[in-house]
Structures are given as structure tokens and as C-alpha cells.
Symmetry: C3
Subunit: 349 residues, 3 copies
Amino acid sequence: MVMTSVQYSLRALADHVGGVVHGDASLSLHGLASLEQATARQLSFYNNAKYQGQLTATQAGAVILHNNDLSLYPGKNAIVVANPYLAYAKIAQLFWRRPKASAGIHPTALIHPSVQLGYDVSVGPYAVIDAHCVLGDHVVLGAHSILGEACVIGADTELAARVTLYFGVTLGQRCMIHSGVVIGSDGFGFAPHAAGFEKIPQLGKVLIQDDVEIGANTTIDRGALDDTQIASGVKLDNQIQIGHNVKIGAHTVIAACTAIAGSANIGAHCMIGGASAIGGHLTIVDQVMLIGTAMVTNSINEPGVYASGTGLLPRKEWQKSAARYRQLDALARSVNRLKKQVEESKHHA
Amino acid sequence: MVMTSVQYSLRALADHVGGVVHGDASLSLHGLASLEQATARQLSFYNNAKYQGQLTATQAGAVILHNNDLSLYPGKNAIVVANPYLAYAKIAQLFWRRPKASAGIHPTALIHPSVQLGYDVSVGPYAVIDAHCVLGDHVVLGAHSILGEACVIGADTELAARVTLYFGVTLGQRCMIHSGVVIGSDGFGFAPHAAGFEKIPQLGKVLIQDDVEIGANTTIDRGALDDTQIASGVKLDNQIQIGHNVKIGAHTVIAACTAIAGSANIGAHCMIGGASAIGGHLTIVDQVMLIGTAMVTNSINEPGVYASGTGLLPRKEWQKSAARYRQLDALARSVNRLKKQVEESKHHA
Amino acid sequence: MVMTSVQYSLRALADHVGGVVHGDASLSLHGLASLEQATARQLSFYNNAKYQGQLTATQAGAVILHNNDLSLYPGKNAIVVANPYLAYAKIAQLFWRRPKASAGIHPTALIHPSVQLGYDVSVGPYAVIDAHCVLGDHVVLGAHSILGEACVIGADTELAARVTLYFGVTLGQRCMIHSGVVIGSDGFGFAPHAAGFEKIPQLGKVLIQDDVEIGANTTIDRGALDDTQIASGVKLDNQIQIGHNVKIGAHTVIAACTAIAGSANIGAHCMIGGASAIGGHLTIVDQVMLIGTAMVTNSINEPGVYASGTGLLPRKEWQKSAARYRQLDALARSVNRLKKQVEESKHHA
């Protein structure tokens, strides 16, 4: 991890997350690491039985864990909490030392005179901000940010270096947008005619609410007529594609490389595994979990866990299975015929 | 949608698309919206029986529809046309008010003295244009455009902000390239040897013809020996990957996140669904449609509609099916043995 | 291909790769092309029986091929070598004439005074290099490069235009990084709690060793606690996603659009086909080959070739097969029951 000079006592860290100290409360810790890599002055955490061997062997100065697991780590320094993963997240925030954006506006940033800037805004070198944009307090725009006309950025939102917003994009408060993200590009709409295709102008906008995180190189298209909408607390990983007019409900989490076609309507509190593909003009209700590489071609009307795909096989076996897959309907019909024949032969016997 | 102050009478809009007015031809309309969201001064369109309920309930001032559907919308204001979707596209173009690129060359743009600029070219801030590039009339380069040596951009082509062309890329006329696109990067070629891999220099170029649209963060590699070629009228969505030496025929449309491996040769007038994967060194004839997430490992020699994948299942059922998939060949052999046994028992009976 | 004025005799080219000349050793060649496109002053190569027809018909001035194939190309000019593909790579390097980066630092590049620059470093226009970065000798940074704090770039490494490194990224020597790449963005980590999600700070770094190539728009996340690590000689194609804490062993090659989830541990000398998806917290041993679109959900403990998916079908057949896939477990149970019944009826007979 990135080295920092900050340190905390085990007591202070436990207090920060409402945990109970076991062992030496005065122990001074200067960072976090995995069970495997942690040293005597670092804290680690344990919340998965898969890593029990690593817990036993760890050199960590102390470990965050659940009361039920304390017996696996007897006589050592520990912080006991109800939710070790959440406690780890909160303590990691104490040790987080990202380079600070320079306060203020870099002299090379090009900002249209009509732009409204909040208090304590930071704009990196070579940023370009078009007319009528509005930036809230404490907004941070990284180097090479590009904001089209009339974008609105809520307070405490940060754009990493090289994020591009087309015109008319709204971001809420406390959002984090990573490098290479493009928001507000044209949706994919073309009306076929005799000589080719007629472009369908994309007249809608993109509305993103508060506390949304968007991963590197993700793309979000503007709406065709109505707006593309992403609700509060949504977390999008890297290289996700969101088509025009998609709606994503609050606190839904989507892993990398997922493709969502136009006008899909995804509920709240969903968890979508990586490299999934979701078709257009369909609805997924709240509380749906998709296992990675899920292929969704119809609406999902019941909460639950869904998956698709064949699993992985050695190539030779795969070739056989894939060949049989083509004949699966014929095979099933054969079985049905056999059933009848066997039934009949019973009656004859 | 983005608000505009422009308005048209129903008569004028119908005339623009060769349609017939029903109802109040003098009605003044100031925009387009979906059936669900349109208000009394907005136009909408109907071309899909799925949305018949929305047609009945719409508050739209008028609707574009086909003569066959007029009875579903009796006594209301309408524009009747043969192709409502195409008419919608053309009318939407009337209402399209994107922020205009500033005419002229931004003073921060770095343009090599050998570059040839056409009439009325617009180059955004911090663009970098290398030696021997040629830009046609009315070309628009967005902020942060980067053009390597000897690129050629046809008249009326627009690059959104932050598009990168390596050296030797040719774009035709009236193309639209979205943010984050990279064209002309090295194809993926390495010759294995005892100690690792030898880089295969990518000596080819990229040739893109007229009226091509390319979506955000799509990547197109230069050829290894010959050139990567994309014909007129091709439309590529976001985050598509085109390998070296790929050829794509005229008016083929490819949805987002599709991956096309090197030297694939794709016909004209194909429609390729999103998140499809097309293997290298294969041919797809004209007029092929692939359903999204199609996996193409062999040439497709007949026009038609193709698909692959298993569809989506609840996880527990999926686990059972996936486990059985591994045994599919054994299952089919069992059925064949059973058939024989049942046949034989008949003869014995 | 890009035209060059350089030319070599067939003898000189053969000598360069330790090959044997057949035919006119004094023939002067000015470039390479495919068998199909090569002209009388160009060299081509042959190493795949699929292209035997093209070999017979080629207009190439000479062909690189294996001794075993010489009889297919009798009486012509040839370079005979043990590995024609490798010889082609090495000869292509002779003909490679990419535009040279201007030596020196462009006046618009913003370089923090604490940055250490090696000998003969080239930094393109509008690059931004933060504090405490260290660049080795002959490093080339393209236009619009962005380096966060404390990045280290080894000697002879090149970043194409518009590459973004977050803080604390290390690249080895002789690496090639293509446009749009983002390295060091936050891994995707959020701890669920009652009101939504708590961000897990990503405290790790990214360590990339020597001779690594990374394709356009690929993203590599920094580690959560420990570091994301990519070993020497790894080749990554375009639009690949590497999650936090992933480890990739030496000389592994990964084709485009592959997604690798967090904490996956991939061995050395693997070959991973395009659009594959590899789950998190699993291990793949050395020498594994995955056919494109492989879906890996469990560790792979044996070297070998693996695949997944159903293959491509005409849509109507696919619909039937996909429907039967849902019932595959029931079908297999039916077959087992039938087996028993047939066995029993035999005993009764």
C-alpha cells in the first residue's frame, strides 16, 4: 500500500467503529494490509472462512473480526465488531492518503465566463468548461476534464483526470467519476430506410443523483427523448455501457464490463455481476442478483438470483457438449418417444 | 429533453416528412417526447403494438403513426406516414439544438504548419494535429482531439471531444466520432519464441468511408499488413473493439460492446446485437443478423438470424443445467443405447 | 501499408533472420504485404495451410516459408526458415517507420519540479506529470499523457497519446501502453450497510514489470490493500479490465475485451481468448489456454485448453435448444428412470 506517516492506537481505531478491543489497546498501527502481507505494525481483517489458514499464520499487529471468530485467534490483538468488512472500510478511510487536488483553478483551465463556481472548487490543468455550467462547493475536476454546455455538478463531487461530459449532464452530490468516463454521448438510434439509415437525434439528457461512483472508461449515453437516469447510491464499475433511456434504481451495484441496452429499466438494490448483458426495453425488479456473464433477454419480475451460460469445460468435452446442444430438442423428443414406448411395452407385457 | 424555443405547426411537420395531417393542422408544437412523457405542446410517435396502452393514455399534442393504427387514436391530432420511425427521426432533426462548435481554430490548438485545413474548419481547445494531416471543409474537431501524422478527415465529419487518431487514419465525409474513441492503435500481434514474444509491427492503416458513426470509447486497430477497412454507412455503438485487418461491409450496424477479432470479414447490411464476440479469420456474408451475445467461431455462409447462449435461469436451476451440460454427450449416448434396447425388446416380444 | 522508401535485398532480409535464400538473392524489396495484396517488390509469408491457394496465386516478389512448404512454391524467390511467423515479425520491424516522437519536452507539458527525468526523454504537448514521478532514459510520453504523483516509468517505455496513470503506478522497461489506457483507478469495493454502501478505500498500487504491452482503452485497477501485479512479458489487448489485486504471471497473453475480476491469480504462459470473463478470488495455473468467450467461475488447477458457451445456431433452433437447456436436469432424470425401466423389463422378460 501507499506509505503514510499517520498512526493510530488500536483503542482509537476500535472507538472509530464502535468495536471492542482485545489485547494491547495502546498498540500503535500505521496501516492496513491483507492477512498474508500485514506486518506487526499493520492491522488486517477476517470475515471469510476461506482464509482461516491465513488468520492463523498472519503476522498482523491486530485483526478486525467478528465475536464468533475470536476463538480462531486466541490471545492476540483484535477489534471485535458485528460487521468486520464495514469496520475495515471505515478504518481504511482513516488511512487513505490520496494526493490532494491543488485548491483553486489551474491557470491553463479554460472556463467560460458564464460558468458558476461554488466555494473551494478545484479545476485541474487543461480542463475545458463550456457555457452555463454550474459547479457546487468543493467540486474537484481533474486534469483534462471536459464539460459540455450546461452541465451541473453537485457539491463534493470529484471527477478524476480525463472525464468527458457532453452538454446537459447533471451529477448529484458526493459522486466519484473515474478517468476515461464519457457521459452524455449519443444513444445508438438509426431509422432504416431504402438507402441506409437516418440518424435519430438524441434529444434527452443524463441525470445522475447523489453518491454515485462510476468506474474507469464507463460510458453512459444521453436519452433519445426522455432522459437516462441513475439514482442515488448506484455504484458502477469500469467499462460498463449504459444505453439511452436506461433507468437504474437506487443502491444498485454493477460490476465491470456489463452492457445495458437502451430503455432497460433496472430496479433498486440489485447486484449485477461482471460482463453481464441486459437487453433493451425490459424491466428488472428490485433486489435481483445476476451472477457474472448473465444474459438477460426478458424482464425479470421476481427478486432472486439468476444466471446463464454453460460453465467451463476442457475443450474436447466442450466441443461434444456444444455439438449436442444443437440437437437438444431432438434429444428431448427422443426421450419422450422412448417413454411412451416403454409405457406401452409395460401394458403389453 | 433539452428545451428549445423553436416551434412548428403540425402542418409544417407533416409536410417535412410527406405525411397527412389529421386534426388541427395549425397546432403549434415545440418539441418531441415519448408517449408517456409528452405534453399538449409536444409531438410523439407510435410504431409498436407493445405501447398501445400508452397511445390511448398519451397527453401528447399529436402523434406520428401509420394509417393502419389511426383507428387506435380516433379524433386526435396525428401525422399519418408509411414509416413512423423514419418520420420521427427526420422531425427530431428539426428540433435538434446541440451547442454549436465555435467556428475557427482555438488559440490553444497545436497544428503543425504542414496541415491542410479546408473551409470553415473548427478545432477545439488543446487539440493536437500532427504533420501532413488534411481536413476537409466544415470539419469539426472537439476539445482535446489528437490526430497523428498524415490523417485525412473528409468534409463535414465531426469528432466529439477527446478522440484519438494514430498516424495514417483516413475518415470519410459526414462521419461522427464520439468521445474516447481510439483509431489506429496497434493490432495485437506477437510471434512466440523461446524467450517470450516478438512484437509484430503493425504496418497497415485504417480506412473508414463516408457516413460512419462510431460510439464512445470504441477502439479500431490498424492493420498488420493490409488495412483495417470500414465501409460507408456503418454504424458502430459504444465500446466496440475492431481487431486488425477486419473488414466491415456497407450499412452494417453493430451494437455496443461487441468484440471482433483480427481479420474477420463482415458483410454488408448485417445487424449485430450487443456484446457479441466474433472470432478471427472468418467470414460473415451480407444480411446476417446476430442476436445479442452471439458467439461466432466459424464463418456464416447463409444470410439469416443467429444466436447463442443458454438464456437466463434462476441460479439453482442454472447450476443443475450447467452440470448436465458437461454430461450432454454421455446423456445423448445413453438415449441412443436405450433406443436400441427398446427396439430389440419389441422384436423379442 | 504505410509507404516507406527503405529497401533491402532478399539476401539481406534472409541474413537478418538466419534464413536460406531460394531464387534471386539480389531482388530488392521495399515492403511487406499479405499474400493476397503483395506486389512484385514486396515480401510476404506463408505458415497456414488454409492459405495454400493464396500462396499459389500470390504476386509477391518473394515469400518467407518453412522448408516443408517449399514444394508448394517451386522455382520462386523464397526465404526458408524454421519459424516463418517469427521471421516475418523480425523483418517487419526493419520496415517499421512510425512517426518519431519529437525529442525533448514540449513547452506546454506541465512537469512538477520534483520530477526526475532520465536521458533523452520525450514528453508530448499538454502532458501533465505530478510530483515525485521518475522517468527512465528514452521514455516517450505521448500528447495528453497524465501521470499522478509518484509514478515510476522504466527506461525505453512508451506511452501513446492520452494514457492516464493515477498516483503510485510503476511501469517497467520497454513497455508499450496504448491510447485511452487507465492504470491505477480505484478497485470496485463497497461494504454494504443499512443505508447503502461504504466506500472501501483502495490503498494498494499497481506494479507492472518489463516488456509489457497494453492495448487501447484497457483499464487496470489499483489494489485494495496489496498491489495489482503484472509480470514481465505480459501482452494485454484492447478494452481489457483488470480488477484490484489481480496477479498475472510472466508471458501470459490476453486477447481483447476480457474481464478479470478482483483478486484473480493468473499463471504464467497462459493464452486467454477474447471476451473471456474470469471470476474473482480464483487461481489459474500456468500454461492454461482459454478459447474466446470462456467463462471461468472456479480455479483451474490443470494446464490445458478450456472453453465454454453453446456455439452459434440459427435463431429458431437456438430458441428450442435454450428452452430445453432449462429442462436439462429433468431430461437427464427421465433418461435414468427409463434405463431402470428397460433393465427391469429385461429381467421380467
